[in-house]
Amino acid sequence: GAGVSQSPSNKVTEKGKDVELRCDPISGHTALYWYRQSLGQGLEFLIYFQGNSAPDKSGLPSDRFSAERTGGSVSTLTIQRTQQEDSAVYLCASSLRQGANTEAFFGQGTRLTVV
């Protein structure tokens, strides 16, 4: 597609349930990022995929969070046993690895509300 696509755009879930958030990056972009933005806060890095390299998971806040990227394209962020503090906007971005046009392009985000 023309841009980074995230689904769903909004998700309301009950505390304790698992959720899956999906990101379709721009075709050909080898780098993919997940960030979290809580109300009134900056961007919190979660995880970074770059090609076939091992992902940088250093930002995942707990072992309830995991992400995978199948076939170097679509990525899924999974949150198990959701808690109220997981409520935030989850942003996905993709970029080319090399070249002058190396900015990250962002999706519109998934707003997660845990009730």
């Binding site: 780098a31 770059q50 002058a100």
Partner: protein, 114 residues
């Protein structure tokens, strides 16, 4: 390793006066540097980028930034603030070598007073 520091979490200016949003970075390689803007309840939009060409970079909406290697800075400026500039601004660094991960600053909220 790389990092980026936005020195001010909030900046307030009067409409028509200059804007200065400060950013300092550290990078193990030659960096690419970016400024993004996020208006309330909107997505992130690229304002401008530096990728080792001209050190003074012009972006959208009259913003510009100057890469100063000696000061490891990439401050964002605009000669005259407009009400529509009120938003949050993020400085971003990406190493052009190594793992090439993108790192965001903590953001600066710009308030424009009429």
């Amino acid at each position: 390793a790389q990092s980026v520091t936005q020195l001010d979490s909030h900046v307030s200016v009067s409409e028509g006066t200059p804007v200065l949003l400060r950013c300092n970075y550290s990078s193990s390689y030659s960096p690419s540097l970016f400024w993004y803007v996020q208006h309330p309840n909107k997505g992130l939009q690229l304002l401008l980028k530096y990728t080792s060409a001209a050190t003074l970079v012009k972006g959208i909406n009259g913003f510009e930034a100057e890469f100063k290697k000696s000061e490891t800075s990439f401050h964002l400026t605009k000669p005259s603030a407009h009400m529509s500039d009120a938003a949050e601004y993020f400085c971003v660094v990406r190493d052009q070598g190594g793992y090439q991960k993108v790192t965001f600053g903590t953001g600066t909220k710009l308030q424009v007073i009429p």
